[in-house]
């Protein structure tokens, strides 16, 4: 385990760049106990990063929702579909 002196802790406490990186990281992989400690320490004193964390999760949900939902309004035109059908039939005949 690394030895963390007071000065280093102070740096972490004010480092929003690092805190937001950890916030992103922990959404994808588990972060180490040390990182978790650093992040919690930071969040105790930083309202901006608490807001960031909430919004970051919400943005993920929105992006996922947008991409995954069915988009019935996005359709291929019939002409292209006919062309596709012909190509497929042609290939099936050949094989």
């Amino acid at each position: 385990m690394e030895i963390v002196n007071e000065r280093e802790l102070e740096k972490i406490a004010y480092n929003c760049r690092k805190a937001t990186m950890l916030i992103e990281k922990q959404q994808i992989v588990p972060i180490s106990a040390m990182e978790q400690f650093e992040l919690e320490l930071h969040l105790q004193g930083c309202l901006a990063c608490i807001i960031y964390m909430k919004q970051s999760l919400l943005i993920n949900a929105m992006v996922r929702d947008f991409f995954r939902k069915h988009h019935p309004e996005i359709k291929l035109d019939e002409g292209f579909k006919k062309l596709l059908r012909n190509r497929i039939e042609q290939c099936l005949r050949q094989s």
């Binding site: 929105m62 992006v63 947008f66 988009h71």
Partner: protein, 198 residues
């Protein structure tokens, strides 16, 4: 009999019916590609390529997944190829851009948010935001503003939930570059939303 119905179901899944592909899946595959690529013509071409590749690979279909899942998987690989092609031409630019961007948000000396860039409450209180059409339009516009490489990595991770190792390999990224991109893409996207949604 329930049991025999179930078996029929399973057998149904194992068959491929190329004659019905266009009718059943063309629109679905097209919209899947179109929202990810922001390019309708390219999305159209990929649907065609997917069907043709699927016909070629017909024998390899093992029936463990549904026809739809199988076709979508083929399309996904083709989309990953496009992401890679788009990013490879831009990688150097994007990385230079990466280095310049950070100072826009954080003080390089102490890593603190620059004043004026710190996150403020702007949409969290409204649970309906996700469904809000206007908000979705802004979200899309903000996503389009991200550098191609970032958008590709962001989408592969947060939408398609690809393993990080797969993304790094596909996009030729080191693990540390990957984290930098994941972080900056979100910081930029969030900031863009805050700026435009008030």
């Amino acid at each position: 009999m329930h049991g025999s119905e179930k078996i029929d179901d399973i057998q149904e899944k194992k068959k491929l019916n190329p004659n019905y592909w266009v009718e059943n899946y063309a629109d679905y595959l097209y919209s899947y590609a179109a929202v990810r690529l922001y390019d309708d013509e390219l999305a159209r071409d990929l649907v065609q390529e997917t069907f043709l590749a699927a016909l070629e690979a017909k024998k390899g279909f093992n029936g463990l997944s549904t026809e739809k899942t199988w076709l979508t998987a083929i399309l996904k690989h083709k989309i990953a190829d496009i992401y890679r092609r788009r990013a490879s031409g831009l990688r150097n630019n994007a990385q230079r851009f990466l280095q310049g961007r950070e100072e826009d948000f954080f003080d390089p000396d102490n890593g603190h948010w620059y004043s004026g860039h710190d996150p403020a409450e702007f949409f969290c209180e409204q649970p309906d935001t996700i469904q809000d059409k206007e908000f979705q339009a802004i979200l899309q516009a903000c996503m389009k503003k991200l550098p191609t490489l970032w958008l590709s990595v962001f989408t592969m991770k947060h939408v398609d939930e690809e393993p990080s190792a797969f993304i790094c390999k596909a996009m030729g990224l080191s693990s540390s570059n990957f984290w930098v991109i994941i972080h900056r893409a979100k910081v930029n996207l969030r900031s863009c939303l805050q700026k435009n949604w008030i």
